[in-house]
Symmetry: C2
Subunit: 95 residues, 2 copies
């Protein structure tokens, strides 16, 4: 079973009240080092079998037509989960 | 200016009606290869200067206390954006 990860964020010029609320809450909790917070969406799309270039193309198409609103949001990335995990292993990251 | 990226997803055992709605819409649009969709959240936290280990520790703390609900959500990753971009460059990925 393969998984494609799609990341969508509000465009830089668009107000993000959710992100602003989080930034305010962080400051109240004492995490004053964060100057700006923005909140977007992350989707996982599962397929049977491996993630192929065709799967990624279909996921990109879904990302721009259904998973994001191109007027206010950017599709930041569309990638296979196995690539993301390979990279984490390389970085020796535990998070 | 540095940026930390925090990814949060609903736990595997938790129903995700938003993801199910997206999966249904994808099937209706003809993208029948995707068997399951789950929708989570992606946050970008900006700091002045570089992302340090202290920044990442503060971001991890924020992720588990404020950015996610540990009863129903998992913090999938907390990482510096520069690491993510370095990896994309290595993979020669345009998405």
């Amino acid at each position: 079973m393969g998984t494609v990860i799609v990341d969508v964020m509000p465009k830089r010029e668009i107000l993000d009240p959710q992100g602003q609320a989080v930034a305010g809450a962080l400051a109240r909790l004492g995490a004053t080092e964060f100057t700006q917070v923005r909140q977007g969406k992350r989707f996982t799309l599962e397929v049977e079998g491996e993630v192929t270039p065709q799967t990624l193309a279909a996921a990109r198409q879904a990302a721009v037509t259904l998973l994001s609103n191109p007027v206010i949001e950017d599709v930041v990335s569309v990638r296979a989960q196995q690539d993301v995990e390979q990279v984490r292993a390389q970085q020796g990251d535990q998070a």
